[in-house]
Symmetry: C2
Subunit: 200 residues, 2 copies
Amino acid sequence: MVPRALVLIADGTEEMEFTITYDTLVRGGVSTVSAFVQDVSSGVLNSEQPPSATCSRGIRILPDVYFDLAQCGPDMYDLLVIPGGAKGAETMSKHPSVQELVRRYIERNKLVAMICAGSLAAKSAKLARQPLTSHPSVKAELEQDFDYSEDAVVVSDNLITSRGPGTAFQFALTLVEMLCGSEIRERVRGPMVFPQNTPF
Amino acid sequence: MVPRALVLIADGTEEMEFTITYDTLVRGGVSTVSAFVQDVSSGVLNSEQPPSATCSRGIRILPDVYFDLAQCGPDMYDLLVIPGGAKGAETMSKHPSVQELVRRYIERNKLVAMICAGSLAAKSAKLARQPLTSHPSVKAELEQDFDYSEDAVVVSDNLITSRGPGTAFQFALTLVEMLCGSEIRERVRGPMVFPQNTPF
């Protein structure tokens, strides 16, 4: 069975975190789908086909599908990814269906991965206290409710968290290893040509 | 004056290399435009508005404009970037107007930056022998005509080359430093949260 991953995206998503994770999963042979989460707080819903996301530094990406709780559950995918970017992460973490999705993946023992401000979804979904990291800019919002770490990638059972664009490769390679094994991780890592002495 | 950068994109461009470079330049305050290069060898030209590029691992990106030699010259921009991805780099390096553009930027002493298979454009544009690097997969096509290096980033006057997705952050930060100075480079680098002991 080919592992399957769902990567959320919204207006304001950090495009490097989204792209590094999605691309690295595809390199690992993971069947990967991006789903566009609408900002429900605006009251104005988009119905463009395909949807388009304007990311945090202006790159516009066409997601594969619209996010829909019924189509995105843990029966469909092995991994749920929530990238950062302040505005995109706010849209996702405040979205009631994303909160429900996070809880369902955790309960079904599927992987949930959050990076940068994406870690705010661990709080809004009311996950249990456990080790977690995030972008330093949202540490103050998380350190009361979690065992806050400053490691580049934190694996706490099936919750994987990371810090920012600079840790996104290590985050993505960790996800490939957890889904596909360490041999595939090394096969993916080599052709990416990291500088000598890269610490992962 | 705000520095200006033009980043080329085509079907098959490596989306991490494109996105890391574009996003990092924007973080540095560089006015950055992406231009879609059509595969002229196919004989079928696209005229979608906006154009869309299907990148090497399936991420679809909406470029800002179509590439047009008259609108993309060294009077308009301070930096030209040619990302990798085998198919995208082939489209760019074989495109006569891209070859002409590379020569014009070099002659006008503007910056030209190539990463991964994008370095093939240095050969197709017939640049002078000088230090250069590329993805290892295209080393054999370049080592006769250039002083081939395996450094992560090679700066040879105004030609900057690099190796792959794993060296893209170091490449992009080098471009920010050359356009905006070392203080801005450090201001951009900090919030990206690289792992401890990252070698750049």
